[in-house]
Amino acid sequence: MNPINYAQLFQLALPQVIVVVTALIVMAIDLLFLRNRATRTRFAVAAGLASFGCAAAIARILLAPAQANILDGTLIANPLIYLVQIALLALTVFALLIAAESTFTDNVGEFVLLILLATAGMMFLVGSQDLLVIFISLELLSLSLYTLAAFNKRSLQSWEAAIKYYLFGGMSAAFLLFGFSLLYGFSNSTSLPVIAAASHGPALNPFLAIAIVTTAIGLGFKVAAAPFHFWAPDVYQGAPAPTAAFIASGSKIASFFIFFQIMAIGFAGAGGTAAFPQLLRGWIPVLALMTAASMLLGNLVAIRQTSLRRLLAYSAIAHAGYMLLAIVAHTQQSLAALLYYVITYALATLGAFAVISVVETQKGSDRLSHFDGLSRQAPVLSFCLAIFILSLAGIPPLAGFFGKFYLFATVLASTPRAADLLWLVVLAIAMSAVSLYYYLRVLKAMYVTPPAADAKDFRSPILSQVLVAVLAAAVILLGCAPELLLKPILAAIQASGL
């Protein structure tokens, strides 16, 4: 074994180090100098500083790109991972900016600290192919998120959300760890490629089968795929808006990326097939069933929701189903499709939560009826929310449409016989037709229903308007010119030789 070169390790982890140091600085400044200021000021300063730190980390990645693989994949640097990390940092900035207007807690420093720690966890998570590091960084991410979900101490719902999230999360972590320990047991290694080599064989090792199932359960929980989705509606509804936005965007990207890596690299030899009706043993049929369940459950239950946040939660479950399709296909192209989809999805969801956050502070809750006639009270916000919702529904020319088209095309192209995964693609497209119904209900409330008679004046903060408009512009731009994002993704995948 080569001696560890700590200097190189530090160099590669520098972006993460920048994020963590920023977190500490923000905390210190908040506690030392801003204790007695108004909450709004403290949030603005903390979010500003933290965004600055994230920007510095992005700059570091852009200016000093490296390609390295330390200690058999413990820490990896390549263009693809950098691209994902940049996306994560950028989304963190947006989540922080949503928080900049909020007043839900007095512990501002701690809140921003936890968001940044979660970001550091995500960055380590995507940059590793080692089970141990994956598990530790996943826990760093999860523990931060549990706490973030509970941050609105004045709201019982926030407590409930955090407890549910924590209990389910702890259980899923146990499953994941159990699966990982089995993998280590029969391959004597924690490195994904080595595990893949050990798992090659004509018959499926029973330990491997258990490991596949438990790992899929653990990761399925992280991405809120049915039937491991129970936490999602409560967390989406109860957690403070910036937290919910963060969970729904950044953490989704990181989890899906690592899900893809573990399945496509770690279980490379134990795929099986999902060609209906001969589902063969392996991880693919497991995921195919999760996909189908998520699409069905998410879309059908979303129809009945009266709270916009819960509606988004069920739509998130449905979208998790679509995105799992890309993992089922596990080709280079489908990885590109997955990244395009999850990044644009994260932008749209972030934007939606930014609007919800404003409406909630003005009207008290996120009930759909509170959006009645919003287009006349806040035209900019409503227009942007309409863009986000339509993008989620997959209406062209918005980013969500191209994401779906590309995703489904790559899934069909992934098997030699296009018909193998056709049943899943047909189900996905049929379900996205169903989804238009509940998305249109949101638009109907905003544009068709007149505002309530006793509607008060509606104040749209400038910062929120700008933030939301930027996100909406990004969604439109990426829909009209998908090549802007697609080309870097494809180039990065090529360069990383995945």
Binding site: F405, A409, A418, I429, A430, L440
Partner: protein, 503 residues
Amino acid sequence: MLAWTIYISFLGAAAMLLLPKGSAALARALALLTAVAGFVIALTAFVDHRTGEMLTIARVPWIPSLGIEYHLAADGISLTLVLLTGIIAVTGVLFSWNIEDRTKEFFAFYLLLIGAVYGVFLSYDLFLLFVFYEIVIIPKYFLIAIWGSTRREYGAMKLALYSFIGSAMVLIGLIAAYVVAGAKTTALGDLAHYPFSTHFQMLAFPLVFVGFAVLAGLWPLHTWAPTGHVAAPTAASMLLAGVVMKLGAYGCLRVAMTLFPLGLGQWGFHVLGFGSWRDVFAVLAVIGIVYGAMVALVQRDFKFVIGYSSVSHMGFILLGLMTLNQIGLSGAVVQMVSHGLLAGLLFAVVGRMVYARTHTRELSALGPMNLNKVIPFAAATFVIAAAASMGMPPFSGFVAELMILIGAWHAFPALALCVGIGIVIGVVYIWRAMQKAFFSESSKAPTPPEHPLPPISFPERLGAIILIGSSVLVGIYPQVLLNIVVPALKSPLFEGLRNGSWQ
């Protein structure tokens, strides 16, 4: 230049949002200006382009990684329909002159819809075509849900969901074709010449055809049409019946039939007497003709009569497509134009001239109002439109239906007879509606309406005259369309169709 029909409509829609609050008159003027500009561009192109073959308008790489191009092109068929869209757009604005509530937004959605419709007719790249095809759905929904009447939210949602389910079917077929052909291109011409296996075409053809035909009112998937038409405000009904239903028929011809011509061939076995998808769809089209006419016969709501008549007339188009001979296919294109003009006119009379004044569409309530005396212009217009809709010369409906009937006679003699019955019922239902609404000889003394009805305004007269004039022009001199439609049908794009099952 022709591409500017799309851009100018979208720009008009965007400009609409920037107008100051409460400037309804300005919004109307801007909408009219935009629609007229689009029409002039379409007309210039129509006059200039006399050969009918495919003409590339714009072609730039769009998503090179996937082989998708921003490729606009027009041949005789698309030019004809672009011109129709121009006419309907202008008259639709004229008949919406009375919109007072949220005028800006109304015309913004209206122009967005028009721009997307132009886009569908001009797209050569299938991905692009699908993008425009789906953009149509959202403004349609809002136009009906916000400015509509009877059960508008239900009608709008039903329409949106039907459209979206139809386009989901199309999307599955397109993605499958794209992937099977090697995922290198989405250009219509390239895919049309790709040798898909017969098995694949047999599966993909009905999927894509039905997906588009949902919007063309194929029985039994037509139910969105009457409720949607009835709920919609006048201009939206005109657009729906006039051009949006044509999008479906156009998609059937341009996409489903050119991509998968072998799907029209014989199955090699018979189920219930059907030997191919062609038989199935021809029979469904004829059922649509007869069923639409019979249901229109018993309606009490004036607008439902017209709504079901649309289903009946759209059946002619689908039947024309299934004849697969040149006269039937070109007849279908002429019928697209003819029905676009006439349905627009009928909806304008019912929705704008009558309903906006009397606030009722019950035939029994309209009768006692003596409308032929009160608003004679409306009565006269309706008589002309009714005559045209029955298929009387010298209107466009006559030529179109005659061509389709001749085509059908060659292809399916038995069905042609059923169509004859449908035409007879068509005469009856429109006559009945005309009689009950305008010329009811009530035994009681005429009950004057509570408020004197406002006279027919100038924009309405102008719109009606434009529509009638165009219909007469097509009826007297159909060569104006056929000169470019027939060469387009002979172009290489339809080669597969000609080689496969053309008679």
